[in-house]
Symmetry: C2
Subunit: 207 residues, 2 copies
Amino acid sequence: MIDHIRDGAEIYRRSFATIRAEADLAALPADLEPVAVRMIHSCGMVDLVADLAYTPDLVEAARTALAGGAPVLCDAQMIASGITRRRLPAANEVLCTLSDPRVPGLAQRLGTTRSAAAVDLWADRLAGAVVAIGNAPTALFRLLELLAAGARPPAAIIGVPVGFVGAVESKVELIGRAPAPYLVVRGRRGGSAMAVAAVNALASEVE
Amino acid sequence: MIDHIRDGAEIYRRSFATIRAEADLAALPADLEPVAVRMIHSCGMVDLVADLAYTPDLVEAARTALAGGAPVLCDAQMIASGITRRRLPAANEVLCTLSDPRVPGLAQRLGTTRSAAAVDLWADRLAGAVVAIGNAPTALFRLLELLAAGARPPAAIIGVPVGFVGAVESKVELIGRAPAPYLVVRGRRGGSAMAVAAVNALASEVE
């Protein structure tokens, strides 16, 4: 047997205590603090907090929407897979349209990626939803285009696409336009695990 | 319309070119280079390469196993969800046992986490498999315990658990014991997306 902590609850407690000891969380709105802690927990990097950008109403907007039964719209199946269903307050639908059979044809017609085309299929569910984009910058760009064209906005946007082409720019665009309350990790960092952590923290205050 | 690159293939090309321009990949074995590139792509951090630890036979061992039909054993459903099935060379089974109904009881009897107990359920599939641990340090610790107790080893271990309690230590233990060819991200960083990226790169040489 290898000596290590085997108690899951104790692992969470010590992890969150370490994050709170090391991360500079003082400047965050009080209700965003546990969300930031969980996002840091998902990636192992306490300096993530320096790259957070957000509107002050993000947490309240997302929590109110989820309590009211809003769906969670995800750009990647990994995000949908990672969201802990029992944390959701209203058995909320968690939807990823990327594997919808209409997506490849739609992407071709729009001249864009499948991730972006999949956002078009959110149409009738977008108003008041909680959006979690953790993978594709093109999905976030497409969301911003649809909103600029008059689509009714979601309640909250978790905008943490990752990578080297479009990630930085799409998040700058989200911050600049602010079409809805948002939470962003500026820069190249992001990803499905961070998006999942944010949604799981917004879904329930239980740590 | 917002000006940005909408061609998925071109986004991949530019992303991988940026990574190769910025990351210090020269010291890696040639066959590990595309695996490192894809892992960097998954997290947006070119400095990840400094934390890679591996045995020189990792890529060949994993590719040979996958070509021979080996299953991929994952510690988190997000990893199983993220692996691109069409990249797998032999329609390989992708297995996560975490939601198996026997897991909660087994975890209680063993006095450990559900993630660790789920590893016990890999038993009859472990020999020659490709293991991808991207979430729970306790899963990696448990794998090392089972191997020390005489379980037949997997063909390759992707060991990238993330976090603040046990992640560093479990990866140090894997490197020290080296019970099979391995690929590790030392330190706190890791996660499901990195594990997925590694498996997807090992599954196919197509970029």
